[in-house]
Symmetry: C2
Subunit: 393 residues, 2 copies
């Protein structure tokens, strides 16, 4: 593409691991002229975002804010504030984002105890118990709720109880679950939780909603050593987002407009209805994929509704098939990461992307494309299987 014609880009149907589709009201909000980051009108928007995020996270935590970076900045924000050099941290690793947590914790000087499970499977709480027992004094237990690299949903109730039993802070990544699956920060005893705007919230990437329990906030405030990040220092951030309104950095105004409008859409739909929608569309997609002879790479019974990790059939060239979907159908699906590279597709049904029409569109595109790549399928069989799920509701 030459310099002149790179913008605007082509219209895509986003069914990958994020970003997801954006509602027109959110896109429209992004073109609203700016106000200053200390303008009373912006402070009112910040308050409304905090209120709606608390509701979405299922928490009464005062410290509940959108951090000015993407989901990975949210991860880093949690670790840099809560972990000091020499702290023992137990990290569950069954995919790329668990690995990333482990990496980030080490950069904070943590002594990391990894609890591993194969990619595509959940982490066994008994293994977590053993790891906690091996610690002299575990500071923190970290786990990914919805592993975006494998499509696995990790149950959290037992892990929350373990963290409590061992006196560890409980840190949870909900990047690919918040707004698509139930997330109950207070009920599950979560001390620190982060997410991103570009998955089930269906706002553009650029903010990381984060919530800290009073205990986590206290731990960050009473550190022996200064927080290594100025940008993500929770004490400074809370002075801006709290009643003091002390200038810290210039908040991304437009992204906060988008977040507000996205949260209002979620509020209007209702959380229960939204979860049901995500579950139904996931079941329809899986029925269709199964009818086409495809298999999921994630453990049955623990599959995300929001991201479907599909095994690439042996005969099929991963990149070429994804290229055909993109170029011929305008559909983006994701490739695999790490050990799943070339071996798995990731089909996201998150937020605005989770619709019956999109399930049918991607199944139809696969039906039309797979035979050309040496994987014969019965025309219409995937779509028909999905339709049966929709009809049964």
């Amino acid at each position: 593409m030459s310099a002149g014609n790179v913008f605007p880009p082509p219209v895509r149907l986003l069914l990958g691991p994020g970003p997801s589709m954006i509602h027109p009201r959110v896109l429209q909000a992004m073109s609203t002229p700016l106000v200053g980051h200390l303008d009373p009108a912006f402070l009112a928007i910040m308050e409304e975002n905090k209120r709606l995020l608390r509701w979405l996270f299922g928490t009464a935590n005062e410290l509940t804010i959108p951090v000015s970076g993407t989901g990975s900045a949210g991860m880093e924000m949690c670790f840099v504030n809560l972990v000091e050099p020499g702290d023992e941290v137990v990290v569950c690793v069954n995919g790329l984002f668990g690995q990333r947590m482990s990496d980030v914790a080490r950069r904070c000087g943590a002594e990391v105890h990894e609890v591993s499970a194969p990619w595509g499977r959940i982490v066994d709480p008994e293994d977590v118990r053993r790891a906690l027992q091996q610690c002299r004094r575990p500071k923190l237990l970290a786990v990914v709720h919805a592993e975006t690299s494998t499509g696995v949903l990790q149950p959290l109730d037992e892990l929350g109880s373990l963290a409590k039993e061992f006196g560890a802070l409980f840190l949870v990544d909900t990047v690919t679950s918040l707004g698509g699956h139930p997330v109950r920060v207070d009920a599950w005893g979560i001390d620190a939780c982060y997410s991103g705007t570009q998955k089930c919230l269906s706002a553009p990437p650029g903010l990381a909603p984060v919530t800290f329990s009073p205990r986590a906030t206290e731990v960050a405030r009473k550190r022996r050593q200064p927080i290594q990040s100025w940008y993500l220092d929770v004490t400074l951030l809370s002075q801006y987002w709290g009643s003091d309104r002390v200038y810290h950095h210039t908040a991304p105004i437009t992204m906060n407009y988008a977040l507000l409008e996205a949260l209002r859409l979620i509020e209007a739909e209702g959380l229960e209805a939204r979860w049901q929608r995500h579950e139904r569309n996931h079941r329809a997609l899986v029925a269709g994929l199964t009818a086409l002879g495809l298999s999921l790479a994630s453990q049955e019974g623990y599959r995300l509704w929001t991201l479907n990790c599909v095994e690439v059939p042996r005969a099929v060239n991963d990149a070429q098939l994804r290229g055909a979907l993109l170029n011929e159908f305008g559909i983006e699906i994701g490739g695999g990461l790490g050990p799943f590279k070339g071996r798995a597709w990731r089909i996201g049904l998150m937020g605005e992307s989770s619709t019956a029409a999109n399930v049918l569109a991607v199944l139809s595109a696969l039906e039309q494309t797979l035979p050309r790549f040496g994987f014969p399928v019965e025309p219409g069989s995937g779509v028909a299987a999905a339709e049966r799920v929709f009809a049964a509701r």
Copy 2:
């Protein structure tokens, strides 16, 4: 404001320290539907942004990218990659952002040597030389080009020569100068430079353009200790922004659209014309303020064209006057920070905000408002003085 009516916010004329006004084409770009962060169409947009940022920074540096955070994230990105625990760093401090650099450098474990000057004055290169001489082995010399807290423009040529003479990396903050004042990264021997999108680039806040010289990139790659930040790790970032396209984090797609459109507008105007426009409007504003009997808080001969730091007259209540401008005229100007709190106003004329109409609007609003706050002025005298500057071009 109640929950229901916080959005959309009122329309403001943004003449504070940022964000500045946004061109309609940039606002419109923000409402463009998203593509994925690994979509070939997005990679083409990234390439175009890199090309235009190189042109804007006056550099051939391969590593020239918009970091996924605000300007302060750009500052942190430079320090965390270049500074290791125990390194000696010389930081020029004559305002809030110099202080912040010093704070960030300490959090990286640096042994910081501060070179101070009073707020409102430039740092003396002879003081910098002495500080460099006192170091065993200075790793880095850091300075703010355009001090947003005081309105002072620091000359860089001599400091660049000093950094070179002592073998130190030269790190420069151009948050409030890039796109408004000449910035010549290569010609001035700058090794690391960061800015923000919400000042003279007139895009919303949310990205921090950063450029690293080959030498700086090499220093970051050859560190003895791992970089404390995963999110801002230049080696990982360059794998995504370089030809490898390795997934790191999900780039803020929409903000990159906005940046592209903002950079294209700058390209269309031309840098020389843009600098002249900023200088002329600054001179007109200063003529008007002077005619009203107001004084600037920044050293004559070293004043920013982009941000005018004005002394609050003794009789006038700072917050009340700014409130009157905001509520009665819809005009935002900034208050003072640190020692300038309550003592200075900051009137920004950055990017799209730097127009003759805006100069006249803020002078007229001051003429109408100041007398009510116990500071009599001749009606029309400020506007007339500005008009004489415009007429003289």
